[in-house]
Amino acid sequence: METQHRDLTPDLFESIEIDSQEGERIAGPPVGFWKDSWIRLKKNRGAVVSLGLIVILFLMAFAIGPLLSQYGPYAQDLSRRYIGPSAPFWFGTDEFGRDMWTRVWAGTRVSLYIAFLAALLDVFVGVTYGAVSGYRGGRTDNVMQRGVEVLVGIPSLVIAILAMIVFRPGIITISIAIGLTGWVFMARIVRGRMLQLKGQEFALASRSLGASGTRLVRRHLLPNSLGPIIVNLMFTIPSAIFAESFLSFIGLGIQVPEASLGSLISDGASKIQTTPYLLWFPAAVFSVIMICFNLLGDGLRDAFDPRMRK
């Protein structure tokens, strides 16, 4: 097949210097792992929106909410009971005349505190256990894993319930109860990662340069495990919020007159036929938090996943 060419002049047949570097040029500038993941996360609209909403909720709970409310969360005034949502009670008032707007944001604060404390505990115990188990390997790992096998069979919420019965409910006790029962999952993930990274070349290289165990774990293996740890953290938080709300719902969590999203929902649920707004607002805030953390967790997991890289 002859194709039409433009007029070919002899000068076109001169050699050109090939830039061997040109051949090696990879399309696109190199980006680090974190930057690349961040870029990929941004493409996930759900995750981005969730992140935004979470930030907004935080601001509302800790800054804007309190600023915009004139009444304290415990201030009772029986003369203004059961007012529907209207100015100045944006979320209405409850049976004791307390302003729901303030109470909902106070409840959000409490729920978030507890969730973060519990998640922190979870991460701390879980990561340590998993790192030790995975890094040490051999006998230590075996024994620790058997421990895990047994612990995994204990339904965590049931233990949390038991704990709350024994110790008086309070923010700290609840956090501990929740955190202490959920760490097993994190431990498994970290251990898996340790085992995987341990055998990789950079670890061997580091050790041949004389790095000691703890140093290796701290400086190299753990930072490389941050991806799965963060993803798991994003899921631990909603499950901790759920756990706290659940406990409050059955009466073992935050007690009156304190407010948490769970206790507010519980209260609202019982009054749904007469004053449904007492349920809507805390339920809405709660649901939004759960959805956002779940979506963000999903998004982060996809963003960090090496298999999805082009």
Binding site: G153, V158, I165, V166, F246, G251, G262, I272, S287
Partner: protein
Amino acid sequence: MLRYVAKRLFYMLITLFIIISITFFISKLLPGTPFADDKLTPQTRAQLFEKYGLDEPIPVQYVKYVFNVAQGDLGNSFYFESRPVTEMILQRAPVSAFIGVQAVLFGLVVGLALGIVSALRQNSFLDTAAVVVAVLGVSVPTFVLGPLMQYWLGVKLGLFPIAFFESWLHSVLPSLALSVFVVSTVAHFVRSQMLEVLGQDYVTLAKSKGLSGLAVIVRHVLRNAMIPLVTVLAPLTVFLITGSLVVEQIFSVPGIGEQFVSSIQVNDYSMILGTTIFLSALFIIALLIQDILYGIIDPRIRVIGAKE
């Protein structure tokens, strides 16, 4: 294969043992004397004391306790005239079981359908809708959904009764509320499994044999994608246990959960601990069943044995 089962059974027993021990020690920590009920005659009280060794040193009590539990005796209720806890639990079990099983069956069917369809029609409207439903379903908890359903389906639209348990219709709302989570979890899981399998080489090979699309899906994709579905059994059991507590509260259903919650409110420690053991045992058995089932269904484990 037998080794596999034996190993699992062993762990299960150990876990159960630990739970029993924990409940025992907690019971010793809790305030209040057992059997403070005035209605007991001195003889009955003496009998009970004897049975549980309440006058004897702790280690002896412990042994007696473990023994009793192993025989199915979970103690006596502090609140309800010292009726045996086991009996009270078992009496309520059918109600909870009915609602739970109904929720799971319904949820499985709907969830499977949703998951499969959304994986096959990726990025279509149906797929996006399914994903949205899945996220909502796992994020919005039952104690929010329950009241919502009560309100909309029960009160406003008057379709179903919202409390108590007098007919099958009464079980619809509670089961429905529970099934939302099941649908979401199953759909999400099935969808991601299907997507993973669809990208595998052996699916391309199946197509290259000239098999019809349907044959490829039914014979190769579905089977490989569904095998891990068994692993969903355990989390679902946990959910059913905690969910039933919530749902029975909201809809005033006389099940195990409702009894458990009220025992918490009246500090009936015996009932609380007894129910804890019962529910934990349920969970552990579910785990065991899951592990065994997985071993049976996956030929890679069944035929050669080990490889976990």
